[in-house]
Symmetry: C2
Subunit: 329 residues, 2 copies
């Protein structure tokens, strides 16, 4: 059994960390906002694959209390990437492996500025999961994790896959980490992007509006092309199959209820948006590779703007703004 530090105990960290703990691992969670609830009532997971409770969950408020781990699962929001290394460092010894279970492009590269690349992994969760009240997680649909290693060492990747599979988590080994990241972006860019650019909408509104749906599909095709250009530039022979990706991802989304993306939940609750990880970094990579991605750029511009508005750095017009001053004549 491994000693595992879960950094960031939101819905994703809580759910997957909970599954690992249920499988008998020594899992220690860094829990900040909901610490009191976790200590008082443990971690409760309502899952379509079976509910479970961890009454004596190991929750800590300071990463120094977690101790050195065999594995660090970093499940922070990508908006916290700047502080991730500082939170991970107290748990990281020379042998510690670190998996970024985060959205977007560039997280592993950022961690590699502080930790050795051969110890860094990426994991992508294809899951519908939401936080309920403090200490409660609702796992609604799916649950598969796709894993890769920053240096694409198959033996290393297998270790992470084994860890997840041993806890009953469906795990896919991606052809390589870059492939896996872009594949996940194929869904996140159009659906997270449009859910926010549309002012707060679920997936059904996108699927059922002919213009929004065409926009989503066009954006998904751009992600495939940018991803394939990035794979080619990196010397990989793996390629995303454009028609297969579009068919598969739309079919999966059709099969869901009116799903609210993590980004639209952040928007509605006034939390930071993962605009740079999900949209900005892929757009910048596409620009470097001279791939035309006008729909991705449109989504990036609008989501970035929504995040700036949320932070109060710009104001949206209200009826008050339209009252012209009374003339003095």
């Amino acid at each position: 059994m491994a000693r595992i530090a879960v950094i960031g105990a939101g819905a994703v960290g809580g759910y997957y960390g909970g599954r690992l703990a249920l499988a008998g691992h020594d899992v220690r969670f860094l829990v900040r906002s909901d610490y009191a609830a976790w200590k008082a009532r443990g971690l409760r997971v309502f899952s379509k694959d079976g509910d479970f409770t961890l009454p004596d969950v190991q929750a800590f408020r300071d990463p120094a209390e977690l101790g050195t781990a065999d594995w660090v699962i970093c499940a922070l929001k990508a908006t916290a990437i700047d502080e991730a290394a500082d939170l991970i460092a107290p748990c990281a010894g020379p042998e510690t492996r670190i998996a970024a279970l985060m959205n977007g492009l560039g997280n592993e590269q950022r961690l590699a500025e502080r930790f050795p690349a051969r110890r860094i992994f990426g994991a992508m969760a294809f899951v519908c999961i939401n936080r309920g009240e403090p200490g409660v997680i609702h796992h609604l649909e799916y649950g598969r994790v796709s894993v890769g290693h920053l240096e694409d060492d198959p033996a290393e990747t297998a270790l992470l896959a084994e860890l997840f599979r041993g806890a009953g988590i469906e795990t896919v080994i991606a052809p390589n980490l870059r492939y896996a990241r872009w594949e996940k972006l194929c869904w996140n860019v159009p659906f997270n992007g449009l859910s926010v650019a549309g002012g707060g909408i679920g997936t059904r509104t996108i699927l059922e509006d002919r213009e929004l749906r065409a926009f989503a599909e066009g954006a998904m095709r751009e992600v495939v092309r940018a991803g394939n250009a990035d794979l080619a530039a990196a010397g990989s022979e793996a390629r995303l199959d454009e028609e297969d990706v579009v068919r598969r991802m739309f079919a999966q989304t059709e099969a869901m209820a009116d799903y609210r993306t993590s980004m639209v939940i952040d928007l509605v609750l006034g939390r930071p948006l993962e605009a740079e990880a999900i949209l900005g970094n892929p757009v910048r990579r596409a620009r470097e590779l001279a791939v035309q991605v006008p729909r991705m750029e449109a989504l990036y511009a609008l989501v970035r703007h929504a995040d700036l508005a949320r932070r109060g750095e710009r104001r949206l017009l209200t009826p008050e703004d339209l009252r012209l001053p009374e003339s003095v004549v």
Copy 2:
């Protein structure tokens, strides 16, 4: 002096109709919502080119009361195009000329379903103008009108130019009507579109945000290309000069204060958006001509969505929607 019927006495109809009345024409206005104020206090225009008041303005509530006119200036919102012909018909005799002083593409063609094409004109106002309290109009900047004739007869176009010029209105005769319509769209598509897609923003927010500005410029270039393809398809030799359009329109917009487009004002006040005239019709024309316009399509999808949301045909998510049901366990 001509007898002129102004159908639709909003900011544009009131301002230009007012200038024509001030020049001595027999101008009769169809005034619906603000009728009482117009009768009580006349029409008051605060203009950067000189304020004026028409205390005895001829305002009517029913188009049948206006009588047959030499000219009909149709200054309705483009969202009212379906009812335009019915409102114009009582004022239209066999010799009546009809000018659509409206935004967007396709208005003249719609009017030509009911009136002879040789009697139909288009006019585009490049003006910053807002309604104040009922019966009051604020003319803030610019004021130029570009005119064309549906059959592009130069002698006919000259008549409309003469009418406006005689009232002190700066008037440009476009190479042809199609050219003039697309030229105006070069500004309206990016700026009206983004002002709404951005959730309610003025022109300065677009100009000062690097991503929104790049999106606006990209969309403007798409409008130029679609317009030029449309001109070529119609056998016209006139072309919009892409670099000149971009340079000129951004320079003009830089020179303005934080201008609120007519479409963002409609959004904020909950009024119908001119989504089809300004975005939908140009997008459909570009698609017919197989011109790639992903940014125009993005704006159309989002503005159309905003209009459907305004009409209550879809709902934007609120924090209430994100409260999961308490578990019964």
